[in-house]
Structures are given as structure tokens and as C-alpha cells.
């Protein structure tokens, strides 16, 4: 996918004044993270649609069941929300083919909207474009680190220990506690930690 340089104004175009501006719009690469992709710019723009903006905020409460500090928005799993009359269609995408969390996420989305009074909800699963760690927001990366998981970095970067910050770390196994994570060890503080793989 083409990485295109964008300025913050692009994202804010046509934004409703009442829309929550606490949405992460930092567009610079953070902590070895990637620049924002065109696909991500579009998703942030969809969030500003006055028709559905409150719904996006409701779904900010839905978190990944395996990394409960990350919302499905932060993770880039929540792709779109459409509203036709009373009917709401939420589009999500799986991180990994075999991600066992998708069923739970679907149920959590339906429950969150039901609590807010929306009964007619369908959750659609889309595969294209394929999810990438590039879609994890800068705020999401920070929350991940604070939770003890090293956020994904490009291959040329070192994986810093989320506990002590040291770059002196080593891979123990390509596969960690879930499909999306690898297992690392910090040679400085000697703690093992999960690393969210770059995909």
C-alpha cells in the first residue's frame, strides 16, 4: 500500500464541530511505527461523518478481548459503520486468519450498541484490504507498551523492552501467547515480554 504524506487538515475536512476531537490524529511515525497509510486516512474520515460519529464513540468502549487496553478502533479492526434508517451495519476485519477473538468482538459490538438503544445491528466481516499492524494508532501503540506488550516496529528497528526501555533484547520464539505476538526477553532487566508482530 502506498504511504502518502498527509497533513492534519485533510482529516479534519468537513468535520462536524461537535465531533470528539480527542481522536488520535497524530500522523507522524511514532516509536518505529509506520507513516499513516491512505486506507487509514479514509477510515479516520469515515469517523467524522456526522450521521455515524456518535456510533464510533460508542464502539470506542469495545476492546480486544486478548489485549483489553486496546479498543477495536485503536487496533484498526473496526473498519466502517453505516446507518440506513434504524439499521446499523458495522464492518470489522480479522487481524489473523485464525483469530479466535472475532466472535467475541462481534458479540461485544452488538451488546454495546444494544445498550445504547440500537437494536437492529449487523456485523459484517471483511477480508480486503488485509489488516496490517500499520493500522494500529499511535495512541494504541502507547497503551500497548504501558500494558507490557512491545508494539510492532519495522524489521530494521530493534524491539525495545516495554518494562525498562532497553534495546538489548532477544527473540525467544516467533510465536507467543496469541497468534499476533512473539515472545522476547530483555537482556537488561531479564524479564520476558510479548511483542506484537509486524504484519
Amino acid at each position: 500500500m502506498a504511504l502518502i504524506p498527509v497533513v492534519e487538515k485533510t482529516v479534519q475536512t468537513n468535520a462536524d464541530k461537535s465531533v470528539d476531537t480527542s481522536v488520535d490524529t497524530s500522523l507522524t511515525a511514532a516509536g518505529g511505527g509506520p507513516a499513516v497509510t491512505a486506507e487509514e486516512v479514509l477510515r479516520r474520515r469515515r469517523r467524522q461523518d456526522p450521521d455515524t460519529a456518535p456510533l464510533w464513540e460508542i464502539l470506542d468502549q469495545v476492546c480486544d478481548p486478548e489485549i483489553p487496553v486496546l479498543s477495536i478502533w485503536d487496533l484498526g479492526v473496526l473498519r466502517d459503520i453505516e446507518r440506513t434508517g434504524e439499521h446499523i451495519t458495522v464492518t470489522i476485519t480479522p487481524t489473523y486468519s485464525g483469530c479466535p477473538a472475532m466472535t467475541t468482538i462481534t458479540e461485544d459490538v452488538e451488546a454495546a450498541l444494544a445498550r445504547a438503544g440500537f437494536a437492529e445491528v449487523s456485523v459484517k466481516l471483511t477480508l480486503a484490504p488485509a489488516w496490517t499492524t500499520d493500522w494500529i494508532s499511535a495512541a494504541g501503540r502507547e497503551k500497548m507498551r504501558a500494558y507490557g506488550i512491545a508494539p510492532p516496529v519495522q524489521r530494521s528497528h530493534t524491539v525495545a523492552c516495554p518494562q525498562c526501555g532497553s534495546d538489548d533484547t532477544g527473540l525467544i520464539s516467533e510465536f507467543g501467547s496469541t497468534a499476533c505476538k512473539a515472545l522476547y526477553r530483555c537482556n537488561q532487566c531479564l524479564e520476558p515480554f510479548d511483542y506484537f508482530k509486524c504484519l
Binding site: 480479522p94 489473523y96 485464525g98 477480508l127 484490504p129 488485509a130 489488516w131 510465536f175
Partner: protein, 251 residues
């Protein structure tokens, strides 16, 4: 090109992933050590997830009211169209590693090509699978080197596995009339082209792992026609047990 041919093609790819995914899942709690147990099961999960995507698509396209679960749990041996290499018993860790290496390398090149399919859903599934195949291959390649160039025993077991598996690899590249027809319309992948990329990679790695390239030999295929080894029935007995005993059970 009829819709039915795409249903059949998606079912084949789904069956390949489901059956190998199940074989890998048999390592759960039996891995050589904890990290490797987890790694094998994670790979299994990717394969089963891929199977779900292909079989859901096949069922949806077929439009006969069947679901992915019907396809996975209620078909019998002759209805399964997976290639034979995927159904062989897991064997020892060397056998599992060698099979995984041969199949992961195949999958990487196969899915890279399928990304360009004119069928958008197959292309979308391929785009997800290709990323996963890349790191599956990274792991199985590392293990080939470590086992091949490891101890006398690990070398011997790995070489034996390679010799035993080699005859099954030919089927990976076999094109039948159905796939040739789908290739003409840009839906399917040209397996002969995949072979041109697969062979050099595999040959080079076998050499780097201080192993010997087996003498060429070809075992009869038959998976695509539903003619299987005696092992598939036993695998299905376990895979399908709950749905056979309690038809339609859900949780």
C-alpha cells in the same frame, strides 16, 4: 466457467488447510517444549482460519444452504479433496517440520500468485494467507537448518522424513482440467509456475541444512479425486466425532 468450478476450487484449498491444520493441532500439549508447542498450535490456528475462509466462501457460492461447518463436519472421505501430503500422520517432530517446510514454501508462492486472481474473494483470502505463510516459512526453514545440521540423530530423522515425503510433493504441482479451465479465466494459480519458484528454494535449503536431495520418485496422487490414504478416515473420525454423535450440536 461455471460457478460450480469455483466452489470446487475453494473447497480444495479449504480442505488442504483444514486437514493440515488438524494434523498440526495434534501437537497441542505434545510439543517438544513449551514455546514450540505454542508455535505449532498458532500455525495450526492460521491454517484452520484459512480453511474457514475458503469453506465459508465455497458454501456461500454454492448457495445450497450449507455452511462451513457442514462442509468440515459432515462430508466423508471421498468428498474431501485435499492433497495427500496434508493428511499423512504427524510422525515425529522431524517429519512435521519437513512437511511444514515443503508446504509452507509451496503456500507462500501459491498465495502470492492467487493474490492476482480475478475472483476477488479468493484474492482477499490469499492476501491474508500470504503474510502468514511468510512467517510460517521463516520458522520451518530455521528448524530445517537446526535439525539437519544438528545432532547425528536429528540429521538422520530429518533425512528420513525428507525421503519419505518427497514422493508426495509432485501432487502439489498437478494441474487437472478443472484448474486449467480456471487458470484460463484468471481465477486459479498456475502450479507449474509455482514449481519454478519452489524447487530452487527447497533445493538450496536442503543443501544448507547438510541434507541430501532425495532421488526423484513420485507416489500416486488422488486427493483431488477423493482417493485418499488410509490415514484420512482416522483423522476424520476424530475431527468429526462430536458432530457425528450429536448432529447439529452448537455451543
Amino acid at each position: 466457467m461455471s460457478k460450480q468450478t469455483i466452489v470446487e476450487y475453494a473447497t480444495r484449498l479449504g480442505d488442504d488447510a483444514l486437514i493440515l491444520g488438524h494434523r498440526l493441532s495434534e501437537w497441542c500439549s505434545n510439543g517438544p517444549f513449551l514455546e514450540e508447542d505454542i508455535a505449532t498450535i498458532n500455525t495450526s490456528l492460521d491454517y484452520i482460519g484459512r480453511a474457514r475462509m475458503f469453506l465459508s466462501y465455497a458454501a456461500e457460492l454454492e448457495g445450497a444452504g450449507r455452511t462451513e461447518d457442514d462442509l468440515a463436519y459432515t462430508r466423508d472421505c471421498r468428498d474431501f479433496k485435499n492433497l495427500l501430503i496434508n493428511e499423512l500422520p504427524r510422525g515425529d517432530f522431524a517429519f512435521t517440520t519437513v512437511r511444514q517446510f515443503l508446504v509452507d514454501a509451496f503456500n507462500l508462492f501459491f498465495f502470492e500468485a492467487l493474490v492476482g486472481s480475478t475472483d476477488t474473494q479468493l484474492a482477499a483470502i490469499a492476501a491474508k494467507s500470504v503474510k502468514e505463510s511468510r512467517y510460517h516459512l521463516r520458522r520451518s526453514r530455521d528448524w530445517m537448518l537446526r535439525l539437519g545440521d544438528g545432532t547425528e540423530e536429528s540429521h538422520r530423522r530429518t533425512q528420513t522424513a525428507l525421503d519419505d515425503l518427497w514422493g508426495y510433493t509432485d501432487e502439489l504441482f498437478h494441474m487437472d482440467p478443472l484448474e486449467s479451465e480456471l487458470l484460463d479465466t484468471g481465477v486459479a494459480v498456475d502450479r507449474a509456475a509455482v514449481r519454478l519458484r519452489w524447487e530452487p528454494l527447497v533445493t538450496e535449503l536442503i543443501d544448507a541444512a547438510t541434507l541430501q536431495l532425495p532421488q526423484p520418485y513420485t507416489l500416486p496422487g488422488g486427493g483431488r479425486q477423493g482417493v485418499h490414504t488410509e490415514h484420512l478416515g482416522h483423522l476424520l473420525a476424530e475431527l468429526q466425532f462430536v458432530q457425528r454423535a450429536y448432529p447439529g450440536l452448537q455451543w
